[in-house]
Amino acid sequence: MRKIIVTLLIVLTGFSIPLAIPGIAMAQSAASSSAPPDGNTSGVITVIQVDQNTKLVGFILSTKDGELVEVSVDDSTTFGLENASGDRLVSVLGEDPAESLLRITDQRERFAPVTVTVKDGITTAVVDREQGDLERNLGFLFAIYLVTWAGFFAYIFIVSRKQNDLSREINALKGQILGPEHEAGLAG
């Protein structure tokens, strides 16, 4: 039996390590991302790049397809971003680099998607993602709550049933040890 347990533990550990390595490697190799194509690209900001003067020079987007896109910005890039309190910034990077960096950081921290517009290889605009239908994905929401509740109720039900079974067994075993007096006490 011990051999089986040790084998399973080794298999589990061996399974976990290869899973961890690609994740860590991905984190360290952000340079493997590609430049965005001309047109619009949407995604969430994962990495912000600044120069030695802490001026924004670019960022990495994670798109819906899981691809990493490295976006470079310059002084002519327009920013149209709203922060959590609804205050909207519309400016070009060259006019207000500090605020642009703040907004980009805010977008990343809130996990708020952005859309980048690229023309002839130059990033012309970074804006909030076009708002879609807020009522979408209700099926996913329902699934999450269903799974959570089903999980808890199933577990509590199993624990409760085992408790009752064990209570009965404890009384039966006590009855065997103490004899008819215990049985009579329970009946009374």
């Binding site: 399973l8 994962t46 929401l141 999450i144 624990v159 085992k162």
Partner: protein
């Protein structure tokens, strides 16, 4: 009614009331998040569940240390209760996270560090429980399980700081951090975290009680096996549960 069931009943009532309040806040009170839409409401469950999954492994580690120091079986029971409850929360964390990721990220799963280390946490729980299930009962099992539980807790800070350390797609920690999320969204998160913490205490205490009953059954079987005149062929290892036991003692 004895004092203990009364406390459990009150605790269950508090949990139910808090859960009702949480659901009201999630679905009727807090506004819809502008970027993700309604699917963001799932995070009011996902984040607290994830938080509790990490707290549970810390509980396992603390109970394991206490057991190794005192050799008191109550700490071992607490570690088991923490691990089994923790594996439920960890499984729910993974499932709810995947269902959220599909519409928001476009994929069910990515190999990013926070997700990977969380999956490892789940495997640590599973390994801990498998070890306890298959290893022969006794002092050696409790001692080795305590060591596994201790090692498992190392994963917790890696998960918690994973998003900050590796700057990947997963949002940074919300619970227990200097988060900028405030207003109705922050308040709903706080209430949901409190509610799931209370639920965790309730579920873990029920599991603790079950473990205590299991130990009591083992002790009674051992006592019966030492009474040759009453149970000549019984022993602790081959004793079967008594299915026709008298009811009414629960």
């Amino acid at each position: 009614m004895t004092a203990l069931p009364k406390i459990r009943l009150i605790w269950l009532g508090v949990t139910a009331a808090l859960m009702a309040l949480t659901l009201w806040m999630i679905f009727l009170w807090v506004p819809t998040e502008i970027n993700q839409g309604n699917i963001q409401r799932s995070l009011y469950f996902h984040v607290p569940v994830a938080w509790i999954a990490m707290v549970a492994i810390v509980l396992v580690a603390v109970a394991s240390v206490a057991y190794l120091k005192t050799r008191d079986e109550k700490w071992d029971r607490l570690a088991v209760a923490g691990a089994e409850t923790g594996v439920i929360f960890a499984a729910l964390m993974l499932i709810t996270g995947m269902v959220w990721a599909k519409p928001v990220w476009g994929v069910w799963w990515t190999g990013e560090p926070k997700l990977t280390t969380t999956l490892i946490l789940f495997f640590i729980y599973v390994a801990y429980l498998m070890f306890r299930a298959y290893f022969p009962p006794g002092e050696q099992r409790r001692r080795l399980a305590a060591i596994i539980g201790l090692m498992g807790a190392i994963d917790t800070p890696i998960i918690y700081y994973g998003a900050q350390l590796w700057e990947r797609a997963h949002p940074s920690a919300v619970v227990g951090s200097d988060s900028s999320i405030d207003g109705p969204i922050g308040l709903t998160w706080m209430v949901a975290t409190l509610t799931f913490s209370v639920l965790f205490v309730y579920v873990a205490s029920e599991r603790y009680r079950l473990r205590k009953q299991e130990d009591e059954v083992m002790a009674l079987r051992r006592a019966i096996s030492l009474q040759p005149s009453r149970t000549p062929s019984s022993s602790m290892d081959n004793a079967e549960p008594i299915s026709s036991a008298p009811a009414g003692g629960a």
